[in-house]
Homo-oligomer: 342 residues x 2
């Protein structure tokens, strides 16, 4: 079995209290005892048991993460930020994938409580009632990612989705486009998608362009689904001069459908994406997009949790609904250009 603090104490001829002291570098220990202890630790290859430590300390340096799925560059980018920051701060990551299932989200949330995690950052596509309720009653800090709080008492970090969509739409309009399709998601109730939609709507309205409902499609965050939707538009002979997809993977689906049907991008139709995952840059034509600082978002979330943990006494949940808005950026690449049709 593994060596315990007691073994170290015996071997070095001091008490476990002293051993504990040198381990934690706290209070003062005589140089002599310290060396003896260090030596014993070395010889026994002693490693303090984190579980015991957490138990007695009544706290935990683990941060729980809930994400819909892995292997997704969007969440992956955020996760990288989370990992880096927590690693730097000495925290660990407990990762769970929900698959978008609210019940799972709640179960994981409870699991994090049972473990007395330092906090949790949750990412969801859709925010369901059960999850909202659970978050509101959590006893540990919760940070909601990429979503603006709405009736939910919980800090948030995201970009200004309204403004970003507004700018991107304006960009298209400036290029001369008026027949602009919007590929969005139907799960956007109570989520950031409505903000994007508002931004889109507002830009159009300011230029007296009426929204063409037949050009608003639901791509459901899926390349495949967007491909089919775009195919449908093509088959109907209802091809717009520009497409605004609210995620890069959807933009790719749109592009593929267009390309497979012989359309040229951006000569025949412009396509713009949202998020700027790596794919956006590597796809051909490279996608014009709204860039989200994914990594910074993850970093920010972790720092919020850590500060919440240090600042307040145990049990107090400072979910003051504070919101962190990071800046986005419009990156113009190959997939968009001037509207040539009149």
């Amino acid at each position: 079995m593994k060596a315990t603090i007691k073994d170290v104490a015996d071997r070095s001829g001091v008490s476990i209290a002293t051993v504990s002291r040198v381990i934690n570098g706290a209070s003062v220990v005589s140089e002599k005892s310290r060396n003896k202890v260090l030596k014993a630790i070395e010889e026994l290859d002693f490693k303090p048991n984190q579980t015991a430590r957490n138990l007695v300390m009544q706290k935990n340096t683990t941060i729980g993460i809930i994400v819909p799925a892995l292997g997704n560059q969007f969440y992956g980018g955020i996760l990288n930020g989370i990992e880096d920051a927590s690693s730097e701060l000495g925290y660990d990551i407990l990762l769970c994938t929900s698959g978008g299932d609210s019940e799972k989200e709640v179960r994981y949330l409870e699991g994090f409580e049972e473990r007395h995690c330092a906090g949790v950052v949750i990412m969801t596509r859709k925010l369901e009632a059960g999850t909202v309720q659970k978050i509101n009653s959590m006893e540990i800090p919760v940070i909601l990612m990429n979503r603006n709080t709405s009736g939910l008492k919980c800090p948030t970090v995201s970009i200004d989705n309204f403004r970003a969509a507004y700018e991107l739409t304006n960009y298209l309009i400036k290029k001369g486009h008026t027949r602009i399709a919007l590929f969005r998601n139907s799960v956007d109730i109570d989520a950031f998608g409505v903000e994007q939609y508002s931004g889109f709507e507002r830009a159009l309205a300011e230029h007296d362009i009426a929204i063409d409902r037949s050009l608003v499609k639901y791509g459901e965050f899926s390349t495949q689904r967007s491909y089919e939707q775009m195919k449908g538009l093509i088959d109907e002979g209802n091809v717009p001069t520009a497409v605004f997809a609210t995620s890069d993977v959807m933009a790719v689906g749109v592009c593929n459908a267009l390309l497979d049907s012989g359309y040229r991008i951006p000569e025949d139709v412009s396509v713009v994406g949202f998020n700027d995952i790596e794919l956006a840059e590597n796809y051909r034509p490279a996608l014009t997009v709204i860039h989200q600082p994914l990594k910074s978002m993850g970093d920010e979330a972790v720092h919020m949790i850590v500060s919440m943990n240090n600042g307040e006494g145990r049990g107090i949940i400072p979910n003051d609904g504070r919101t962190v808005i990071l800046s986005h950026e419009l990156i113009e690449r190959q997939s968009s250009g001037k509207c040539k049709k009149v």
Copy 2:
């Protein structure tokens, strides 16, 4: 503060032992006590403290994972398999990213030991000495991913990289290609890359095709780097009729360089990838690739850990070097075709 088992005991008028019994459903408890306890648990919203539980049980249902980086569809695919399987089996995932740094790998490995994790699955691009040594001395099960053991006493799960590369090369040869470039990685020492290289070499040799060293490039798992390397070949006027990239992201870099220079794929040059991450299917032209069952690989690794944990007594590490080889598949898509040049 949170309610403890003692609070429940007090409130329901029984001993903590009885409470523990109903919680764990073990032994027999009278219907009457059980109900009282259940009621108290409900009222107090009591959740057993996992930390305390783990401490006394001397075990842990947490699996440590080390991965070079997140937001990568390759590792992401494996991680999804790991997550699903462990979730189903009631295990949790403790995730760490190494950034390819061996020191970090070792540190995380130690961390997992301190926490008495059920086991760990590690993914690395390159396997360095320090990591190998640490793995060999681990007191908990370790599974190495996507790599065949070489002087390392540790179970492994991967596909047969030699055979896969061999088949893919043969496919290209059958299409009439003889000037085939290979984009691989320089970090392949002691890794699966050498097997792929052997497979490539063998196929060529069997058809009496000499390897053209000027066509062997190092793409370093990077789209950007592969792009530059391919650009170099183009500038030198040394364009092959086919390119075998040992990862999909490298294949995309190669394709982009070709496309950006006016070459057509597969009319002018065929490009094939390896792994079959989602990108391979969504890219245009869609990539012909060797498909790896990423998700199954993750699933397999978790099951190995769990069975090791259940089968043997504590402390015993059954790292018998067993290897699990999953089957791959050659998927033909748009990026490859008959060689037209002679």
